[in-house]
């Protein structure tokens, strides 16, 4: 009797657990459908958690790797005002990386673990940062185009279903918009400057335009995570929709700058009320993503070197904290 009762209790418990799991999943789906925020202590599907960790980590890594192409010009900035603006921007990027790692940590991962995955190539960062900054005008082109594309991507993320990510994006988008205006203003100044400065600005836009369009990711029919991310309301718009939105915003801005965009097929489509644009070189996109872009090796090596050469500093801080209590660290 005792054994039979125990069996029955186990079976009841299993049924109970299954019912509970189904109830949790239903509550999650209802919350997402009602545009409520999912918070760290809420139940969430494992795949939702994994997908968010992947996306937020990649986003954080992009901020950190993205410091490099711009920091490349800090010591050569041509005026003290521009130097101050650039330093402040690179500092903001480190800060954005910190917010995003913190937001990712609410999902049960750790910054150390994420950095380790970046350094070993198991997690990615935005392909755009594998392009080199060859002239000062590239700093402006990055501000206008790269930050512009990032904002187009990130503003809808302010309504992402995961609360900590959405809140991080609100803070980040405010600062990004400021950087973008500064980049635009830098390019405008060059465009209206000497003929050499104008040529420098045009050359930078020619080199950064297509890589910026690639920032929105592969076309919708080749995007592995898109459908699920949209169902979970992590993403709100498809890659192609956001890319089109960006082109529509950027074309009149280029005209105002007095610069051209390097696309012979770019023209207004009266019927669609949007710009048509030429084909993207997806072979180049996938090649850069696989690690064969102009700076992939350099970017990851610099990041790894900074981390490895800083190991003794982090060890010293831990040893000191252990001796003197956490508060002293």
């Amino acid at each position: 009797m005792a054994t039979a009762a125990a069996h029955r209790t186990t079976a009841d418990a299993q049924t109970g657990q299954a019912e509970q799991a189904a109830a949790y999943e239903a509550a999650f789906n209802t919350a997402v459908a009602a545009d409520e925020r999912i918070e760290p202590r809420d139940w969430m599907p494992d795949a939702y958690r994994a997908s968010l960790v992947r996306q937020m980590a990649q986003h954080a890594h992009s901020e950190i790797i993205g410091m490099q192409p711009e920091a490349n010009w800090i010591t050569r900035a041509p005026s003290l005002r521009r130097k101050a603006i650039l330093m402040a921007k690179v500092q903001d990027e480190a800060g954005h990386g910190l917010y995003l790692y913190s937001a990712a940590e609410t999902l049960g991962t750790g910054r150390e673990e994420l950095l380790d995955k970046l350094h070993s190539g198991r997690q990615k960062y935005s392909s755009i940062f594998n392009y080199p900054t060859l002239t000062w005008a590239d700093v402006g082109a990055i501000g206008w185009l790269v930050d512009g594309a990032a904002i187009t991507n990130q503003v809808p993320l302010c309504r992402c279903s995961y609360g900590p990510y959405a809140r991080a994006m609100v803070r980040i988008c405010k600062e990004e918009s400021f950087h973008q205006r500064q980049g635009y203003e830098l390019l405008l100044h060059l465009s209206k400057g000497t003929p050499e400065q104008h040529a420098m600005a045009q050359d930078a836009v020619d080199r950064w335009w297509w890589p910026s369009l690639m920032m929105f990711g592969p076309p919708d029919d080749e995007s592995a995570h898109s459908a699920q991310s949209m169902a979970w309301k992590i993403k709100r718009h498809s890659n192609d929709e956001l890319r089109q939105r960006f082109v529509d915003i950027a074309v009149p801005q280029a005209e105002a700058l007095g610069l051209t965009l390097p696309d012979p097929d770019l023209r207004w489509n009266e019927e669609r009320g949007q710009y048509d644009f030429g084909p993207i070189d997806w072979d180049e996109f996938w090649d850069v993503l696989k690690g064969n872009g102009p700076c992939n090796e350099q970017r990851i090596t610099q990041r790894r070197t900074a981390h490895e050469e800083g190991a003794w500093v982090r060890e010293a801080a831990s040893a000191y904290a252990a001796k003197h209590g956490k508060a002293a660290a």
Partner: protein
């Protein structure tokens, strides 16, 4: 004129050196902190240089021999310990210097009153890292001591009176020795025994005599600006 140039060049050159750390710091928090300090210093430099003339002409079009900064601030970053040793020496000096200037009624008083708040943060940052590195691991202790030893011979120049800077230089030096000595002691480090000045180097930076790495630093800093004479940015 000379005074604003001397103080402005100190801030400009150290800011530049700290800017070289961007993307290379040992932890993300230090990317933020070092850039923050560099920005404060650049802000000070711009105000000070503007008292003398056009900030960009002064930063980008002077030759090496016309810069009036201390040799200390132009020293290469070295490892993180050497950077922190340079920060400890200089920010302690700057805090005491600006503290005196802020208390006076000279032309630098308003600037010093603002800057002294920033500089107190810089000194706090340097002090905390000196403690962590000095009293951290055996390796960090050794590196921190070597950083201090390597820079010690550039510290005497800070106390060579600068014409037009109305402070009590003896009091400044005594305060500096006391403050730095106390931090080094708490960090289990030894106050370096070597001389605080080289044989002919006392006041050299202030007279436009610099160390070899400086020329390379300003070549990089000035290159683009000089490549486009007359352009604005």
């Amino acid at each position: 004129m000379t005074a604003a140039l001397a103080l402005g060049d100190d801030a400009l050159v150290l800011s530049h050196r700290l800017g070289e750390w961007a993307g290379h710091a040992p932890v993300l928090e230090e990317e933020v902190a070092l850039a923050n300090i560099a920005l404060d210093l650049l802000g000070q430099a711009r105000i000070l240089l503007s008292l003398v003339g056009d900030e960009d002409e002064l930063a980008y079009l002077r030759e090496e021999r016309a810069f009036r900064n201390l040799q200390l601030v132009e020293q290469p970053n070295g490892d993180f310990a050497q950077t922190i040793a340079r920060q400890l020496c200089f920010s302690t000096y700057q805090r005491l210097l600006y503290g005196q200037l802020a208390a006076g009624d000279g032309e630098f008083a308003p600037l010093a009153a603002k800057a002294v708040k920033e500089v107190a943060y810089h000194q706090d940052h340097a002090e905390h890292w000196t403690l962590r590195l000095g009293d951290g691991t055996e390796e960090s202790h050794g590196r921190m001591q070597r950083g201090c030893d390597a820079l010690w011979r550039f510290t005497g120049e800070m106390f060579q009176p600068v014409e037009g800077v109305d402070v009590d230089w003896q009091k400044l030096e005594a305060g500096w020795r006391e403050s730095v000595g106390a931090v080094l002691e708490r960090a289990t480090l030894t106050v370096p025994e070597g001389p605080q000045c080289g044989a002919w180097a006392a006041g050299a930076g202030r007279q436009g005599l610099h160390t070899e790495p400086f020329g390379r630093m300003i070549a990089e800093m000035q290159h683009l600006h000089r490549s486009h004479p007359g352009a604005t940015w």
